[in-house]
Symmetry: C2
Subunit: 455 residues, 2 copies
């Protein structure tokens, strides 16, 4: 539990903190658009200045892209160390006409703050700065060493953070990495996400004739790449959605009994799924609930098919080529590279005659599993309960967050994903928003974590 003094400080200064967050949000730090390069720099300075004012040693690191901000308190060997990660850059704002207010002119309505970056990730990141401020300004002794590594390339796929982490594991050494860039389980239930799926993204290219052929003149004489591609894609999955690539399930960890119980207790129903997706029915691998499939079973999804004529009406051609993008979401302990090799071998071995087939592995991400019983995860659970006044749950995530795997690999520390956003926060979309109550509770959680993590 954070001290009364610290919690009182956060309460008394909440309105000012919101105002400061609004200042942060006014900086249009869109990292993928070069015309915003100066804004991205300004956002980096905003963070660096604030950390400096709190007495931290701050470094601005330029690895060729947008700057990394590294900051640290005094590192006392008798204290544990928390490394907070976040990003100060934001997504583009198109389509602008769907915003109810200009994206970089924050507006508060009914306790909700609307602005680009409100939830992803300025608002969430800022909770940690404010928790630290509460310790510093109240004179309360900080129970842990605190480090920050904050990047400006999360939304533009930059590599600075990866390179820096790989090259500077000692500098980033910590007992836990804390990331607030995800969501609560739902509006009333906080959660720690202890597992992320990995990814293996493949492209299959089938080539037939040198050019599109008239399907009357040449139909029946040469193999049609689109028909061939359909056969390849169909061969990847059985009728129940299990992947047929040999070895695909190697290393897949079975769900433990208490995980299945925990998932079931969350009450995620197929009705909710239908409502969220608009799909006509739930579907997937037999023997698993919807939430188990979503969070803990590997998948094999076509992300795109392109071949021949896609316009209105008819065009009678045999397409020269057909391409499929196929991605597999992987679970602990599948190995993305082994999966990519097995996938390639399977497709090539079963490649139809009469066409040329190429398979390319576009990119991979490793799955992540943080032991739920580790000290740090348990500290995170206690902090969430204190911050939100509600019992937190363990959740998993079907998406991939590549930096988490890198932190785990390079720093050998557990990564705590303490998300304060909501699935309905419209991140990456018009009218992005952040509930100020979650901003307040997040800051309390972060302050509590600094205490609970001290052991």
């Amino acid at each position: 539990m954070a001290s009364e003094k610290v919690l009182a400080y956060l309460e008394e200064n909440h309105r000012r903190h919101v105002d400061q967050l609004c200042d942060f949000l006014r900086i249009p730090s869109i990292s993928s658009q070069s015309e915003h390069a100066a804004d991205v720099q300004a956002a980096a300075r905003f963070v660096a200045d604030e950390l400096q004012e709190l007495g931290l040693t701050v470094e601005t690191i330029d690895l060729g892209g947008h700057p990394l901000i590294f900051a640290g308190t005094e590192i006392r060997p008798d204290r544990r160390t928390l490394l907070f990660y976040g990003h100060y850059d934001v997504q583009p704002v198109d389509p602008l006409d769907l915003w109810d207010n200009p994206p970089f002119e924050p507006v508060i309505r009914d306790g909700v703050l609307y602005a680009r970056g409100a939830s992803d990730d300025k608002g969430q990141l800022y909770t940690h700065l404010k928790a630290l401020e509460a310790y510093v300004r109240t004179g309360e002794e900080l129970p842990v060493n605190v480090k920050f590594i904050i990047e400006g390339e999360e939304e533009c796929g930059g590599h600075s953070i990866y390179r820096y982490t790989e090259e500077n594991p000692d500098k980033l050494a910590c007992d836990a990495v804390v990331i607030s860039d995800t969501t609560l389980y739902n509006e009333t239930t906080p959660g720690i996400c202890y597992s992320l799926k990995g990814l293996c993204f493949m492209e299959i290219r089938v080539k037939g004739p040198a050019m599109d052929l008239h399907s009357g003149s040449y139909g029946g004489t040469v193999r049609n790449p689109a028909n061939a591609l359909a056969a390849i894609v169909a061969s990847l999955q059985d009728a129940d959605g299990r992947c047929l690539v040999p070895g695909f399930y190697d290393g897949v960890l079975d769900l433990e009994a208490d995980e299945r119980e925990g998932f079931a207790a969350l009450g995620y129903t197929d009705e909710i799924l239908m409502q969220e997706t608009g799909a006509p029915a739930p579907w997937g691998e037999k023997g698993y609930t919807t939430l188990e499939r979503m969070w803990a079973r590997p998948t094999c999804d076509v992300n795109g098919l392109v071949s021949g004529y896609g316009g209105e009406g008819a065009k009678t051609i045999i397409p020269a080529t057909a391409t499929a993008k196929v991605s597999m979401r992987l679970v602990p302990d599948q190995d993305p590279e082994a999966v990519a090799r097995a996938f390639t071998a399977y497709v090539m071995e079963n490649a139809p005659e009469g066409v040329t087939v190429e398979v390319e592995n576009l990119h991979n991400a490793a799955p992540v599993l943080v032991p739920r019983d580790s000290d740090m995860v348990q500290a995170g659970m206690r902090a969430l309960e204190q911050g939100f006044g509600a019992r937190p749950v363990f959740i998993r995530e079907g998406g991939s967050i590549p930096i988490v795997g890198t932190f785990q690999d390079c720093l050998k520390s557990p990564v705590l994903l303490l998300g304060y956003g909501l699935a309905t926060d419209n991140i990456h979309s018009p009218n992005e928003k952040f509930h100020l109550e979650n901003f307040r509770r997040g800051a309390r959680t972060s302050a509590a974590l600094m205490r609970e993590a001290a052991g």
Copy 2:
């Protein structure tokens, strides 16, 4: 055999006829482009005027699109009647920069006439007008009644000719329809095309979630429309290219022994196929030669696949929809509507769970078979031999020419496809051309046909 007088006339006037054809080709009668509407009218007038000068009764028929020209000689009941069909409209000319000369400024190089419409169809159609002229100007008695029905919507998919034929079968009544809008078998061998494939064009639309979903957040929970579509498409064909739709082969006429012999004698090799298509290998239904598959076996080809993300790199979505365009080329005596019904039923019965599947029949065309032993076909063969000085062959065509089926259905007459073009004439492409030697021989053939068809 046409009389010496008629043949001599054609010979003596060949150069003038070529000049007149060039005048015809200078009219940019692109029927699909409204800015060329006046040019299309001018081309219609060109044809109408010339037929009128030859003493025919000419009608210009306006059914709301571009005009139809109907013309006829005196109809004497003691003579047989030939109906010549052709079109005076042409394809667009893009990409213009690939033309060696402006498409509507005809140029002759090495005995080859280059211009849009040279082969398709002004040059071929014009042979019949010049054959008729030879009879009229030499005073040689015309052995048959001659009718022309010439349209200006062939390249823009207009319906005037269909409507007129359906509503006026008596006016178009004839002993044979003669169409020169296809090709010789090869440069030295003329042929009569006695069979055309039909067509059944389908679209399969698979719908899943209401919008593209994040494949991490929802992978494994709902059926992916693209995977489902691939399974549907794969179910249409076995590994040898035979269509698996029940009843698909109902009515398919087996090739007769002499047809197979005739095809084999043509010497079309797989090397030629590879050269023409650039495909890595020939492929198709077992038990049939390449030419047999091309001309006389029904096919099932995907013409287009569209789903999800097709751009560079990765986008990890479950697409909301997936669409395939699938066309089946049909052979005598398959029934396109029965095939469409069987296809729809098969796809719907095997539709994967968890997605919504729709099947639409976009359009059909009936296959055509003209009895090779009919009087008129035999007359056509004799005329070709006289016109080209080479023994003609019987050929088939994998493409569909819908008007041929309409003529056959409404007029109950055999249709003679006497093609004077070459596969290398670049029809619908830049540098369309027509060999003047084939123009000369075509006119001789047409003149000979008027005699041979008289019986």
